[in-house]
Symmetry: C2
Subunit: 344 residues, 2 copies
């Protein structure tokens, strides 16, 4: 992605430190943080310095590689513990599981510590590169769905910041924009954490892509008025039947899209698909602290004795999803299980 | 309503001043403001010191009465101009039109200024009293829909603060609570102005009624999980065919309620029904300043060069409305036109 005119990835390795953009400070401040051990890496995921399923996956890959590079003996049980440690940071994003398993499997093939360490770093870098390539391909394929002049609604941030680069939903937006299509993005602000207003708007603003921020409440209004051509969001985990977990409120947009005959698409790399999970009801939904609802930017908006509930994700049933845009093609939800065999 | 243990109305006349609770300061600060002329009254409506269709109606009634009391001659053209002046403050709330016409008609029957002034004050007081009585009755009738243990979702603030007293949706909640039913209210925070988190939660908190604030995005999630028994909102204007304009996002909740077989009700006095308006498409929708989306409590959340759109209301088509709870009974949307004749 382009930030202040320079190309950036969301997460990368720089010598022994893992570098990432602190997303909790955007759009007010652009700051790169350095993470030096597995505690700092875990905290960066838990505190949402980095967020977005593919980005969390890459951070997990780098985090495991860094942690292994700091070991003084090649004990697979210890490495397995580290994997579990990272895995526990956030429960819903499947890319994290996928990334940790990918790096772990490469390590487990090696016999001694130096070989393990070398394999871990190589696997993490390869994971990040493949993630970038998958997103680029998602953008190219999804672009076929976008007509010149299209108005695209997106929810939360499925952008470069949510991945290693390009994004998923925003990869589609980027490619359409780079090809000269005159598009407008309606950006759901995405309470409670406002990733739409803060992160998606910032990414689009950095690349001068036309966008308008709306309250989450207004998405249905614009669909009802016929002003939205297509809805595209990312996903945090997709079950084998095509049910998709994504940021809270995604389900609302999908139901509204159906009621107004607006096609609703999920854009996600295959690493987001949990083929061992039969349906959405088995996807764990993280409930985050009520303070994210009760307090905005340090100021309490609600009465002192009021309480809140704060589920971070919801499940959009496959029936509401027109298609899933992956790096291997655009599939109907019922078709994605074919991807498990690797035959597609 | 009970505030700090004392009974209050939202708006009342105290000698020559109109008094109202400054709703822009809640829940942080409880403050009564005094309005001394028609400019201050208009500003109180425009700046949302007072909001909610029935409350705006009562403010309009008192405002016109106060303005007439300050005239030095009984010129009906001038009084008509004052009526239009108040009417222009906010376009969607029908109660304002209704209240201004009610008071104006009483004035127009009188021959001289002192009689006009006396009639105006009497009409405004009667309007407020009738509004309170209508809301009390809405509460009683709506209470029949609430089972012991019910979980009720509401959007925005359709409480005592949005009326003269009791509220509409919250009148139902109040009566159920006063009768000892163990109810829980899920309160949509209602971006962009957060009337749910700020006002509804505060009213419920003042009367110790169990409630939980949720992001607007989470309402669908809880309906999908089967945790919501009934959705009740207010309305700003109801067309003769039963289409209802209400706070932006209401349409989203209605569509989600239908998708999840949760009954969706509107609670509103008959003064909210615009019998001369055939359908929702003729209801004017106010678009408010983009700063309400871009800035929260004085702090900009979005990038400096991002823009926003901010429709204040949306239209819920009659087909999504299970019933309209009025002071004269609970009606199917198709039945409300019968109320125009006054035969019900």
């Amino acid at each position: 992605m382009i930030i202040n005119g320079q190309p950036y990835r969301t997460v990368w390795m720089d010598d022994e430190a893992i570098k990432t953009i602190d997303q909790t400070l955007l759009p007010g401040r652009f700051e790169i943080v350095s993470l030096h051990d597995h505690h700092e890496v875990a905290r960066s995921i838990e505190s949402m310095i980095i967020r977005g399923a593919p980005a969390i996956g890459a951070m997990g890959a780098y985090g495991l590689a860094q942690a292994v590079s700091q070991l003084d003996r090649g004990d697979l049980d210890e490495i397995e513990s580290l994997k579990q440690f990272f895995h526990a940071t956030r429960p819903t994003a499947y890319d994290l599981t996928h990334a940790l398993n990918t790096v772990f499997d490469k390590i487990a093939r090696e016999a001694d510590l130096p070989a393990m360490q070398q394999a871990a770093i190589k696997a993490a870098e390869a994971y990040a590169d493949q993630s970038v390539e998958a997103c680029r391909k998602i953008g190219e394929l999804g672009n076929q769905l976008i007509r010149d002049g299209a108005v695209i609604l997106t929810h939360c941030n499925a952008g470069a910041l949510a991945t290693v680069d390009y994004g998923t939903a925003l990869a589609v937006v980027r490619v359409a924009h780079y090809e000269g299509k005159n598009i407008t993005v309606y950006v759901d602000e995405t309470r409670p954490r406002l990733q739409g207003a803060k992160l998606t708007a910032w990414e689009l603003s950095q690349e001068s892509i036309k966008h308008l921020i709306i309250a989450d409440n207004a998405a249905g209004y614009y669909m009802q008025k016929g002003e939205i051509d297509i809805v595209i969001t990312g996903a945090d985990r997709i079950a084998a039947n095509g049910d998709a977990a994504n940021k809270i409120g995604t389900y609302e947009k999908a139901v509204l899209a159906r009621a107004n005959d607006v096609p609703f698409y999920i854009a996600a790399p295959i690493s987001t698909i949990d083929f061992r999970c039969d349906s959405g009801e088995h996807i764990p939904i993280e409930e985050r602290d009520e303070s994210e609802v009760l307090i905005i930017d340090g100021k309490r908006i609600a009465p002192m004795d009021s309480r809140a509930r704060n589920p971070a994700f919801d499940i959009t049933p496959a029936e509401y999803i027109e298609g899933i845009i992956t790096e291997k093609g655009i599939f109907k939800p019922a078709e994605i299980k074919l991807l498990a065999s690797g035959n597609v």
